[in-house]
Assembly symmetry: C2
């Protein structure tokens, strides 16, 4: 049964990712909370806090049944009905401002009316931009997509730039990655793509962590990181569909909001110095780049 | 002309409030930014940062013309049309966790179709609950409302409890105050009420600042404050109509988001100790109280 194989894959992916992340962190361990959803199903939220690398992070899986009503049904243009949703979602906020925050999510939805689809993506949010890191991240996702269809990456990359955009700031959340939703049609074919992508995550991110491990930083860089984390919060609370979906369907609040950064600063009208590395990041966020052809 | 007298009142109220706040702060001074709105009008945003009392605060006025479209027109159940909006809005985040955050806002709207109304309110968000402060705050607003109509306070108090509520957390933002919207009808009568309320602000809040000035606090209290500020951010970005209205009508982002606290913490599944003062606050936030009869 589709629900079962997808749920099993997300769970085993959660295990392997957490193992790799603990290894990379060196110090922190994931803590697991198992929870039930009020309307059926539940999930496993694993979080790491104040580790050697990760100041805060979470890798969660869930498989929930519920009813799709109100704005969600309207948005999907369907009548209110039962749904099943399974997914894996992760966000990692490193302590070092020289390491980027990363987000990855894959999900599978089924409606009572027989419709089903996959969605997912991965995006990188650097505080200081190292071109080689952005290229590595995009290269990894392009390779994963190319295994299945050489047209996918360009489409998913554009989808990511469009989705992770803060309209009120006129800024992308980060340097993008891939994003897709409503991937309908052949179940096996789409599931294979999601499996390839899921398995590509550690390869897309951990080499960047290794490369930036000994990069020096101080108060200035930390302060900039705390301000940029504010944008992350703004995106997740104002625009993010997953957050909205979770809160609207009465999901477990702490699991949904585990994506929020550990410490955040908002200073009125904070601006980077002209010509600084901080300003260079903003330039790239205002005009998304092509990182790999 | 109604627009002019309202705008003038908000500006002079801004002056007198800022003077009183600088006096109470002792150290900080308001910095003013004058800005223009792309579709007409503009505003004056005054902010104070790292003062003697206020870690961050803002007192803004604006008077803008624009067009009401999309979700805003839908929400108001009117066709897309021109609007005029004038308002004063303030949020103060003291450094001391023993002093509450306060928010006050009064606004006047006019539509092209001839409809016009006032809205406004004031609410208090303590990190540590001193009953006498909550009573003082409510008492002041009740007295202001009672001058005009003895039925108003109870209605506005209930409106406040309903509005400043985080559904996903099942918690009020703070201990309430007053809130009203769509106050239509006799202009002079409603404007008189808004004037009385506007002039009551300093009396509602500054005596609380004085009373808590020498209250001791340390890391534990600061940590709790940073976590609770996270709820403030969640409310403003997920639910607040003023924030949504501002961002949707392409208002000045830094003026709209000046309400966000200076430093905020989100720890996964953070909970206060059983039987602590922190837990007592939560109990009250989950079940709004009657503070004055």
């Amino acid at each position: 049964m589709n629900r079962v194989v997808v749920t099993d894959f997300f769970r085993s992916l959660q295990d392997s990712i957490c193992t790799s992340l603990e290894q990379a962190d060196g110090n922190g361990r994931f803590h697991e909370d198992i929870w039930k959803h009020e309307s059926g199903g539940g999930g496993a939220t694993r979080t790491i806090q104040e580790g050697g690398v990760f100041e805060k992070g979470g890798v969660s899986t869930s498989a929930v049944r519920g009813s799709l009503t109100g704005v969600l049904a309207t948005r999907l243009e369907v009548s209110p009905q039962a749904f099943f949703a399974a997914g894996i979602s992760l966000v990692l906020h490193p302590l070092s401002p020289m390491m980027p925050t990363v987000h990855t999510n894959f999900r599978y939805l089924e409606l009572e009316n027989g419709d089903f689809w996959f969605g997912g993506g991965a995006d990188l949010t650097p505080y200081y931009l190292f071109d080689e890191d952005a290229i590595h991240f995009h290269q990894t996702w392009k390779q994963a997509c190319d295994i299945h269809d050489s047209a996918l990456y360009a489409r998913f990359k554009a989808g990511c730039d469009e989705y992770f955009f803060l309209r009120h700031r006129g800024e992308a959340r980060g340097i993008g990655g891939i994003f897709f939703d409503y991937l309908r049609g052949d179940f096996s074919r789409n599931f294979d793509l999601v499996k390839t992508c899921g398995n590509a995550f550690t390869k897309s991110y951990l080499p960047i962590v290794e490369r930036r491990r000994r990069e020096p930083w101080g108060d200035r860089e930390r302060n900039w990181q705390l301000h940029r984390r504010g944008r992350y919060v703004e995106f997740n609370l104002i625009y993010d569909r997953g957050t909205l979906f979770g809160l609207e369907t009465r999901g477990r609040v702490e699991s949904i909001l585990m994506s929020l950064p550990p410490l955040v600063r908002w200073t009125y009208d904070f601006r980077p110095e002209v010509g600084s590395r901080e300003e260079r990041l903003l330039t790239v966020l205002k005009q998304p780049r092509i990182w790999v052809e």
